[in-house]
Symmetry: C2
Subunit: 425 residues, 2 copies
């Protein structure tokens, strides 16, 4: 079966001066991948007429679907809509449905006083050669251009606003359902093994023979994250039932090979793995964070439903908070300092007691760039996990920048807590 | 003066299946921008020989500098190095310096037992037609190719590993200093006005005349974030002194126009603005977070030096933690619920007392996707900020997904705290 290719073009100077990180493309690629579209290229260009035009020409050569995001906002530097209008040989006309929707948003939702600005009314203008896609979450509509009469491979060009939640709404409600109607997609299946505790090259060595044994239509990807490596098998074919059977067999082999480091056989976050364990075992947790400054709590509460097992945290950045709320002793802080095994043990004790949880994890370390000493260089971290009867500790040493040290510490601590819970329930 | 153009090519299937969000390109673009390079295009391709080759050909046409990241890891799917070798007509040879460095890392830093894997030793192989750039932070070296003898515009092609902190080290220590030696860059100056409290279109309307008055060589960019808009003026020219004078005048005009919403006249984070205020006024803060789950504390502690003003937080996700540690009354929780003005007021009181801080901010809300009611739909949030004498509150209503609701709430709450501190010291 022929592969359906897509290109994603993102438009906007903000992407090229580096002010905005492009999270849209990753999300879009994931969604397209799920329905069987292979994103072969992503291109970011500025608000520059020729660059946008050339990117459209270029991507039309090899992609069946071109998705464009950005360049549709109400500010002056947006040239995307007039360009698309000219590219597809149309005229800009006011769309009454969009106008009604824009009016509704300004009156009822945003509740802006006074008459609407002309630049907002302009949002209702669309090329007369496109199908308008309703944007329930904002003023800029999506635009769908069919290319029956145009040379080249691309059959569909879709333009979406760059605001992530608007783009996502349009993708889910309009774009993906329409694409599945037009194209005949192959069956695409994924299985992901989530590992922590070793590096990419060690895993690669371990599964070398397995990797070589994979058939052409099953691909393996290494997806490294913070202290973790996800191994994703992707199978492509026509017969779903057989493909699934074949993939599951290969996936079982893979899991067996990496069982020492396996955290989950789903593509999910570490916090979600912990959340499922807590739910299953009907247990509660809390955190006592110094150097991670609330980031572990944030990782946990990013998941809907985290309130089932997570009760709360004490972020004790200052030593007197460690003493007063968590009960770390003045003697410990004076003799061995805040970044010490004794301190994190006392922090876990305090957290279990004060938050009244079954398990707690504590962190204390030096995240940098300043604050390191010869004895305790930047990246030195103590982690403790425990319950009311028992506490275990681990000392970590990272050598990254502050943001990455915080990420690495939080994930390592959460994994340490996960293992403690599994070993002690 | 001729503009120096750059293209950034990122390589790796993980970017195209959407597993990895590309943060490298944004950072690189910022750094290149600072020295006067205009990034005109960013392209992401998979680990596919033809796609990488074609991207190199294509970007060579219009860019003076091509930066490549990714595709250099030790796993099997990396074809970038052989491809570059062929593209530039060289042979892969073992580089003794790199080999020594790889050995050193494995023995002394990673402390891996046993002999090194062949795939790791391969990291020391480089094309004999490139200049090797020392990667102090990892095993994969950077590679610098000069293009004197090749047709097309691109004069330099630079290949860097995709691991962010390795790429950053190479950029700062090797790539940027070398580029400034080879190219004559124009003077590029930026000034950024950081606003919160209104939208892009309202600002655009307010500064319409100002925008039209800008000369050709000073550009304005709107950079929207979570509840904020940054306005960046970029000036380009030859004479630094005059350009600076001209830019400062325009920037003063701009600041005056947006003064009602101005948070800072630096391109910095909101947390950094608060940190500077605390340092200047010698005050301390803490947070009492329910729905933001530690994210405000994380925003604050992401900045080095945050321990000067930030003492800690109580994340009271469960109601009994709100009661026991923060002193929210059972009566309040029963009568008006956790998402209420009364609750956040009591949370601020509790935080000021328990954390012994001058100011505190509290959040309680429904972040979704579940948990909403007719009376309190998803996105309903109460925020309070105060000191021991006075507490102010605000009710917010968002309508996004969970992640964005948390981001929006955290930024709105931190800004509310900022304004309270400024008004009450």
């Amino acid at each position: 079966m022929k592969t359906i290719n897509a290109s994603i073009i993102t438009i906007g100077d903000e992407l090229l001066i580096g002010q905005t990180i492009d999270t849209n493309s990753a999300w879009m690629a994931q969604e397209l991948n799920k329905i069987g579209v292979w994103v072969r290229k992503r291109v970011a260009v500025g608000d520059v007429w020729d660059d946008i035009w050339n990117a459209l020409d270029e991507e039309s050569k090899d992609s069946d679907i071109i998705l464009i995001t950005g360049g549709l906002g109400p500010t002056a530097d947006d040239i995307t809509k007039p360009l698309l209008c000219k590219y597809f040989g149309g005229t800009l006309v006011v769309n009454e449905d969009v106008l009604k929707h824009v009016n509704y948003l300004f009156e009822k939702v945003y509740r802006r006083p006074g008459p609407m600005l002309e630049r907002n009314l302009k949002q209702a203008e669309v090329p007369d050669v496109c199908t308008v896609l309703h944007n329930a979450r904002g003023t800029a509509p999506g635009m769908w251009f069919d290319r029956k009469s145009v040379a080249g491979r691309a059959r569909v060009v879709i333009s979406l606003p760059g605001i992530p939640h608007e783009m996502k709404g349009l993708m889910v409600n309009e774009v993906l359902p329409r694409l599945t109607k037009i194209f005949e997609f192959p069956v695409i299946l994924h299985r992901t093994a989530f590992t922590m505790g070793t590096g990419e090259s060690m895993i690669a060595e371990k599964i070398k023979d397995f990797e070589n044994s994979l058939p052409e239509h099953i691909r393996l990807a290494y997806l490294p994250g913070y202290g973790m490596v996800k191994l994703r098998l992707t199978a492509k074919g026509d017969d779903k039932e057989n493909l699934e059977k074949e993939l599951n067999e290969k996936f079982s082999e893979l899991k067996e090979l990496v069982s020492a480091w396996l955290v989950s056989d789903e593509d999910e976050s570490l916090a979600m793995v912990v959340q499922k364990i807590l739910k299953e075992k009907n247990k509660t947790i809390g955190t006592a964070e110094s150097c991670t400054g609330g980031y572990i709590a944030h990782l946990i509460t990013s998941n809907a439903g985290s309130s089932v097992g997570f009760k709360g945290s004490i972020i004790s950045y200052a030593n007197d908070v460690k003493e007063r709320i968590l009960g770390v002793t003045d003697k410990t802080l004076r003799s061995v300092g805040a970044v010490s095994e004794e301190t994190v043990i006392q922090m876990v004790k305090g957290a279990v007691e004060k938050l009244q949880v079954d398990f707690a994890v504590a962190t204390s370390g030096i995240m940098g760039p300043d604050g390191g000493t010869d004895e305790k260089p930047v990246g030195t971290v103590w982690v403790a996990a425990g319950n009311k009867d028992k506490i275990e500790t681990i000392k970590l040493a990272f050598r990254f920048d502050r943001a990455r040290n915080i990420e690495m510490t939080a994930h390592a601590a959460l994994n340490f807590l996960r293992k403690f819970i599994l070993a002690n329930t």
